[in-house]
Structure formats: structure tokens, C-alpha cells
């Protein structure tokens, strides 16, 4: 019990220091947070243009692979929420940089678990972000409420929140694993760029992934067997009740499995990475 209390108190301290740090550059932080809403507006305009081109100036009533204009905007807003959980700006590159600059040493000598420490830092970072972003998010959703068919049932909402938390975990452990590659290759920027590019398209942030069914061939299967779709598409599809029943259960199980896979991968990468690191001087 005392151990747990001590841990909770450490976590609270880590949360606080991160919060303070964010607030040092409050202008930059606010601006960065609010600017994230700009792409939403441009995306809505883009889809509006696509649908109205199809319907000769009328965007309602048209469908693109099962999605109406309203469905698409609702999906896009939800995928933005997913990404607010699963995107990890600066995580992998930050870890790689700390390895490269030797900063990682200061954590290796302290009695803490490095990956847990980074996770707590990130949770603090996210919570700070949500505090600032909650109001603008609420405004956007309120203005766009017409694009939704109302709230889904309670059990769907539960599954949705669960999948969002898992999306956060998956995003964190995937990026942490990639950052650890810095132990072997001191420069991972290009690798990260490739990862970002794939994530952008294959997570479903840009368009609903079930549109790929129309393409035929192996594409849909390939994309659905990657972990990336759990970062954006899956939670959004759960909210919109595109995935239900047994398929939903199975989806959550696979998402949990991916999280576990990357927890283990990041641990292994760290374990062997530290050894490797010391073989090349640091």
C-alpha cells in the first residue's frame, strides 16, 4: 500500500513538472493546440467540394462507397479525436535525440523505469493538451452536431472510450519502439518520416479505410492486418457503429494484442539497445 502511495506520488510529481514545462511557453503551446483545428475546416471544405462536384452543386444525397457527405464529415471529426489520443508528436525523435546526445545517461543512473517514465511524461503532455483543447473541440463538435445521428448507445460509447485509450497506448509504444532504434542507428529521422507517411494514410486519418474494400485485390486485407488502423479508423468506426457485435469484440482483442506486442517490443529494444549503445561508446 505504502509502495503504491509512493508511486502515485512520484507520478503526480512527474505530471506536475511536465505541466509546468508546457506552461513556460504557454503562447507556443496554445497556438500549436489551436492550429490543429485548422485542417478540420479545410477537410470539410474539401469533401464538400468532392460531393457537390458529384451531385452537380448539391452535396446532399450523394454517396461515395457507402458514405454520404454527412457521414464523411462525422468520420473525419471522429478520426481527429482518435489522433488526439494516438499521435505522439516528438516522441520517437525525442528518444532518438536523447540517445544520440547522451542525455539518456541521466535517466539510466536514476532509480526509475525509463519507459514508464516516458509514458508518464506523455500522459501528462496529453492531459495538458486536452485541458487546453477541450473547449475548442466542444465548439467544433457543437457546430457540427448536424453531421451526426445523435449519441450511440452506452455500451458502444464504453467500447469507444476503451479503444481510444488503447489507441493512445498503441501510439505510445509503437513510437517508443521506433525511437529505441536510435540505439542502433544514431539517425532515425528518415525512418520516422516513412512511419509518419504510412500512418497518415493507413491509420484512416485521411479517409475511412473501408473505402478500400472497393479497390479490390489484397489492399484492404493488408491494411487491416497492420496495427496502424487502430490509431484512427477503428475507434471512429466503433463510434459510428460500423463495427459491431462479434466483430467489435474481435477488433478490441486484436487492438489489445497489438498494444501488448509493442510493449514487449519496446522493452526488448530498450534492453538490447542499452547493451548495443555501450558497445559503440556514448
Amino acid at each position: 500500500m505504502a509502495e503504491l502511495a509512493a508511486r502515485a506520488s512520484t507520478w503526480w510529481a512527474i505530471f506536475q513538472i511536465n505541466f509546468y514545462e508546457k506552461l513556460v511557453y504557454r503562447g507556443d503551446f496554445m497556438l500549436g493546440t489551436l492550429m490543429r483545428f485548422l485542417p478540420i475546416v479545410t477537410q470539410i471544405f474539401l469533401w464538400s467540394a468532392i460531393f457537390s462536384a458529384r451531385g452537380d452543386g448539391d452535396s446532399s444525397g450523394q454517396e461515395i462507397v457507402g458514405y454520404t457527405y454527412y457521414n464523411i464529415v462525422a468520420y473525419y471529426l471522429l478520426s481527429t479525436i482518435s489522433r488526439a489520443f494516438s499521435s505522439m508528436p516528438g516522441l520517437a525523435s525525442g528518444i532518438a535525440l536523447q540517445i544520440r546526445e547522451g542525455e539518456i545517461k541521466k535517466y539510466l543512473i536514476q532509480p526509475l523505469d525509463l519507459i514508464s517514465f516516458f509514458l508518464l511524461n506523455r500522459i501528462a503532455h496529453k492531459l495538458t493538451y486536452y485541458i487546453v483543447a477541450a473547449v475548442p473541440f466542444a465548439i467544433v463538435f457543437f457546430l457540427c452536431r448536424g453531421y451526426f445521428d445523435g449519441w450511440p448507445p452506452a455500451q458502444v460509447l464504453c467500447a469507444y472510450f476503451f479503444s481510444l485509450v488503447l489507441a493512445f497506448m498503441l501510439g505510445f509504444f509503437m513510437e517508443a519502439t521506433i525511437g529505441m532504434i536510435g540505439f542502433w542507428f544514431l539517425e532515425v529521422r528518415s525512418l520516422l518520416f516513412v512511419y509518419m507517411l504510412f500512418t497518415f494514410f493507413l491509420s484512416g486519418h485521411m479517409f475511412p479505410l473501408d473505402m478500400l474494400n472497393e479497390l479490390g485485390g489484397p489492399w484492404s486485407t493488408i491494411v487491416k492486418s497492420l496495427p496502424l488502423m487502430y490509431l484512427a479508423y477503428f475507434p471512429a468506426a466503433v463510434f459510428l457503429e460500423k463495427i459491431t457485435g462479434a466483430e467489435l469484440m474481435w477488433g478490441l482483442i486484436v487492438q489489445v494484442a497489438w498494444v501488448l506486442f509493442f510493449i514487449i517490443a519496446s522493452r526488448l529494444a530498450f534492453h538490447y539497445g542499452v547493451k548495443q549503445y555501450s558497445a559503440y561508446g556514448g
Binding site: S9, T10, E103, G281
Partner: protein
């Protein structure tokens, strides 16, 4: 009592990527990389008892920092063993990590954009320091180092000397039993260096903790360490007191002769190397074994107002020791000198 640090046959080799000059070899390097094995530490044996203040002395790249990194568990050794307070450092047990601290002059562990106070609080939690104990230790350290005014100023706005003081406080908050200091006074001005020296001296004497220090400033070492370990090329070439280095490696003494006003000094080079001649003062470098004999014959032949016999400056002796440890460099130097004189 068991020694607090015990190192046996510790070695550490690095693989370092070698890049040849030129475009073609750069392209070749994409496919086939050549690595050179660098032996940073070559079989070190060392025992340190509780309460000792030991200096690691050696030229750049001698293996001092590597040894400290090994002892703080940041890197794994290639072979050999080490135990600090009964722990193998590179296992990185929390029990061990709560009992030592590492301070690197060129790296900082404080949160850059925040006041040091915030970093201290985080340390309190990470090291699980009791709140009263924490407050007492922090007050004491802040007072000793005279930085109470600076606690709420962002670290980035502190001077190098002030920052180093904060680093030391952060490292000592959990009252470590063993402290590793890697060039703690690097880049500091004389006053700041002196402050840090005084602080370390006082703290170590008060707490009787064990300290291993690397530094290039002989003043640090002279002020702080009873024991000096000279490392060169990954091996220990001397282990003993600082003054012992002069006895062991300083093969000569310096005679300062002050002649009577009217006496001529004549040719003194037959007694030894003339270092400086500023009549009536002449400085001679004389072989240690011949000092008595030379002095007797000088006194016999000249009228002197004053005579002084001194050890050579420590820096010079150490520079000699370092160059002895670089046999290759020395012969190259000799060749250069021979070429210059012809």
C-alpha cells in the same frame, strides 16, 4: 572492512566506425563499413575504501570517463568485474541507483526551462526522500553553496557556475554514499572553481562519503584528493599520493641560485640544464641523484647570496608522465626536434 569499490580486470572496448576520406570511399562505406576496435579501458584493478577521495588523472581519452560510466552502470563492460557497495553497477538495481550519484560537468540533469526547485522536487519523489529529510538536506546544500536566491530562476538563465552548483545539489539530495564527479569544474572561472572545491571538501569531510573525481585542473586535485590514480591508455600507471607522483616521476630538482652582486656566474651548464638566467638569479635543472654533489661544488666555486632547492612543478611532471605513456608520440616528437635542429 570490505572495500566500497572493487574493480578487477575491467576492460571496455568500443567499435568505432572508420571513414576514409573522399567520395569513393564514402560510397563504399554505404555497403561495407570498417570498424576499429578502441580499447578504452584495458584491465583495470582498483580498490577504494569507504571515505576515500580519489582523483583519476590522465590525458584525454585515457579511459577515465569510461571507468566512471562503467561504475555508474551506464555502459556494460567487455570483460572483468566491478562491485560498488556490493552491487554490480551495470545491473542497474534500484537499490544501487538510490545510493550513488554521477555529476558530469558537460551534461545537465536539471529541467532546462524550469527553476531548479522543480527538478529538486522531482528528485525527491524519484529517490523517495522523506519530506522533512528533503527539506533539511536541500536547505543545508543551498546554504552551503549560497544559491538560495536562485532557486526560483529557470535553469537556462543561470550562469555556468551557478548551474553546476544546482547540479551538485540535485545529485546530493538523496545523500548518496558514493559520488562520481566527471570534470565538475570544467569551463568555470577561478572563483567558481574555488567555491566548488571548498564545498566538495567540506561535504566529503562532513559526510565521509566516497568520491571519485576526474579533472584536468591540478588545483582541484591538490585541494581535494589524498589519493591519485593516473590512467593512461586504459591502464593504471600510478596509484598513490599526489606528492608521490613527483618522487616517482620527477627525476630532477630545480636549484635557484642567487649570486652576490659582484660575483660572475661563469658557465653553469656543466652542472645541469639552465632554465633561466636573470643575473643575479639563475635556475638550474639538476638530476635528483646529483643535487648534493652539484650544490657542494657550486658553493665551493662561487659566492652565493641565496640557494633554493625545489621540486619541479607538478604540471610539468604530469605532462612528462603523460608523454611517457605515449611512447609513439614521444618518438615522433623527438624526430621533429631532431629535424628542427639540423
Amino acid at each position: 572492512m570490505a572495500p566500497i569499490i572493487q574493480i578487477e580486470k575491467l576492460t571496455k572496448t568500443y567499435e568505432v566506425y572508420q571513414k576514409q576520406e573522399g567520395l569513393l570511399s564514402s560510397i563504399r562505406g554505404l555497403f561495407h563499413r570498417q570498424y576499429k576496435t578502441v580499447e578504452a579501458v584495458k584491465g583495470i584493478d582498483l580498490t577504494v575504501d569507504q571515505g576515500e577521495f580519489v582523483a583519476f588523472l590522465g590525458p584525454n581519452g585515457a579511459g577515465k570517463t569510461t571507468t566512471l560510466k562503467l561504475l555508474s552502470g551506464v555502459i556494460n563492460p567487455t570483460s572483468g568485474s566491478a562491485e560498488v557497495m556490493g552491487h554490480v553497477p551495470w545491473h542497474r538495481d534500484n537499490a544501487y541507483r538510490r545510493r550513488f550519484a554521477l555529476v558530469m560537468g558537460q551534461k545537465n540533469q536539471l529541467w532546462w526551462d524550469l527553476p531548479a526547485q522543480d527538478s529538486f522536487r522531482l528528485h525527491q519523489k524519484i529517490y523517495r526522500i522523506d519530506a522533512d529529510q528533503f527539506q533539511r538536506t536541500q536547505d543545508e546544500l543551498v546554504d552551503l553553496l549560497g544559491v538560495s536566491e536562485l532557486l526560483s530562476q529557470p535553469v537556462r538563465a543561470l550562469s555556468l557556475g551557478e548551474r553546476m552548483k544546482m547540479e551538485l545539489i540535485a545529485a546530493l539530495l538523496h545523500s548518496p554514499d558514493v559520488l562520481f564527479l566527471d570534470e565538475p569544474t570544467i569551463g568555470l572561472d577561478v572563483v567558481a572553481q574555488h567555491n566548488i572545491q571548498q564545498f566538495l571538501k567540506h561535504y566529503q569531510q562532513e559526510r565521509k562519503i566516497t568520491v571519485l573525481l576526474t579533472s584536468h585542473y591540478m588545483k582541484d586535485i591538490a585541494a581535494l584528493c589524498q589519493r591519485v590514480v593516473v590512467i593512461a591508455h586504459g591502464v593504471i600507471i600510478y596509484d598513490g599520493s599526489l606528492s608521490g607522483i613527483i618522487d616517482r616521476f620527477g627525476g630532477y630538482k630545480i636549484l635557484t641560485l642567487t649570486f652576490n652582486e659582484d660575483a660572475a656566474s661563469g658557465n653553469l651548464s656543466r652542472f645541469g640544464d639552465v632554465i633561466s638566467e636573470d643575473f643575479p638569479k639563475v635556475k638550474l635543472r639538476v638530476d635528483r641523484a646529483k643535487v648534493g654533489e652539484v650544490l657542494a661544488s657550486i658553493l665551493d666555486q662561487y659566492e652565493l647570496a641565496d640557494v633554493g632547492v625545489e621540486d619541479p612543478p607538478l604540471e610539468e611532471v604530469i605532462a612528462d608522465v603523460f608523454s611517457l605513456a605515449h611512447p609513439g608520440d614521444q618518438s615522433a616528437n623527438e624526430k621533429k626536434m631532431a629535424q628542427a635542429s639540423t
